[in-house]
Symmetry: C3
């Protein structure tokens, strides 16, 4: 829920930058928050989709969006405040995406990919709707790579027979740790352009 | 069908503004017309999707798109001509979206949301493809709110036991009336920015 | 596979033009390559989606994307090098899209449309993500029309009882031939604007 809230707030921030009103900002925030999980569910044929099955997700997201729309004064401040919940959400989405893919009998590589898609696609949809090139593709600071790393940690432990109660939090913490390190030390991929 | 035609024409208008040729305009018009219903069917796992099951939708949309591409002279005139069919289409899409969601055992709030998504998502896709920020999110004149209102009127009547033969047209008329009032009196949401 | 590779490279070219790094370029290339087939599978309710069922598609696309990202020096040279594989891919996607639609009991017109969607939608998604109006809608040189022509040739032969071993390559070659002719002679639709 913390992660969903962080994704919601990142949608509101972007929508405000585009001078949308509260209806537009709420819509963009909703798409940012549920986009990754929705694409995952559609690709894996998992129905009913998580937010259609349980309306509490949508109500929570709408509440966070409206409150943050009216209380946000500084986008810079908000961005640093959501850094940790956003990284937690990224990790949790990456691990659940990988888990669901494995449940659907996807192979190792595809499950990894599905973890990354689940983690980052909400942000991609947000940027496409706001008429920007997706920051996750353009930014050099590690982001998608953190989702990939967390999903990988989870899956290696899962394959090694580690219980889900240990493997899931390990994957989430791995994502969080790498993401915070990336922001703190301005890490970029050690690859030529 | 009137509503689909209006959505088609709004796609052609936008495509012409972007200087597309007849093929591009027809493609954008098709996506505008069927986009909302397609997203609804995919999210609710309703297959076959309505326009795949019955090819008459697609043939009708293509015919309207080509005719309007060559006969449109004034976008301003066309916009005022499609105002009523567009509002009718919005209302009908909103009510059918809510109906189908209820049939899929979605909760009240999700059914409302699905009504709005069905009504407005074709226009969102049109604007994303034409490289614009979706007007439905940016515009202050009521639009998404009209779909929400119509879906709400329908659902309250439906829950109160009113027959579909009365509840469906009531929802459509509620959308139409609010939309026309919004355009006539330039209504905006009575909310601070 | 040649076609997938060509679509991948066209994604890398566009991503480089937008100054993305290797992660972004690979993501855009992947979406370009599998986008059309994924939209087709989701619309037709064909699960598991082709690249989720068989991970070799994704591995191949990622390998081509990384190699071409680092070896591309001239976008102009690359574009002419991928012209033939791209046209082959377009034809193959168009014919398989039509085939799968027929298997799902879609009507003639819808199967044609599904062929075109399968052929061109990867490029549409690429352009939307890269914040451009889809070239397939904007360009005047024939492209979508070639997919339509190839799907039509295949379907007419199929309906006439010609074996798939003949009808499929005929459709692909029809697409290829029309596309190469369009580039060679700068063909545009013989229609007024």
């Amino acid at each position: 829920m913390l992660g969903l809230g962080a994704f919601t707030i990142s949608g509101v921030i972007e929508a405000r930058r585009k001078e949308m009103d509260v209806v537009g900002a709420t819509a963009v925030a909703f798409i940012t928050a549920v986009g990754g999980g929705t694409v995952r569910d559609v690709l894996l044929d998992r129905y009913p989709i998580f937010w259609i099955q349980d309306q509490r997700y949508a109500i929570y997201i709408f509440a966070v969006a409206v409150v943050s729309f009216y209380s946000l004064r500084s986008a810079r401040l908000a961005k640093s405040a959501i850094l940790i919940p956003d990284a937690l959400g990224l990790g949790l989405f990456a691990v659940t995406g990988a888990t669901y893919a494995l449940e659907s009998h996807a192979s190792f590589f595809i499950a990894l990919l599905m973890g990354v898609i689940t983690g980052v696609f909400g942000g991609v949809l947000r940027d496409v709707i706001c008429n920007e090139i997706p920051t996750v593709f353009a930014r050099t600071q590690l982001y998608a790579t953190c989702a990939l790393f967390g999903a990988l940690v989870f899956m290696v432990m899962d394959r090694a027979g580690v219980a889900a109660e240990v493997a899931v939090p390990s994957g989430v913490i791995a994502t969080l740790a790498l993401r915070l390190a990336a922001v703190r030390f301005n890490l970029t991929l050690p690859l030529p352009r």
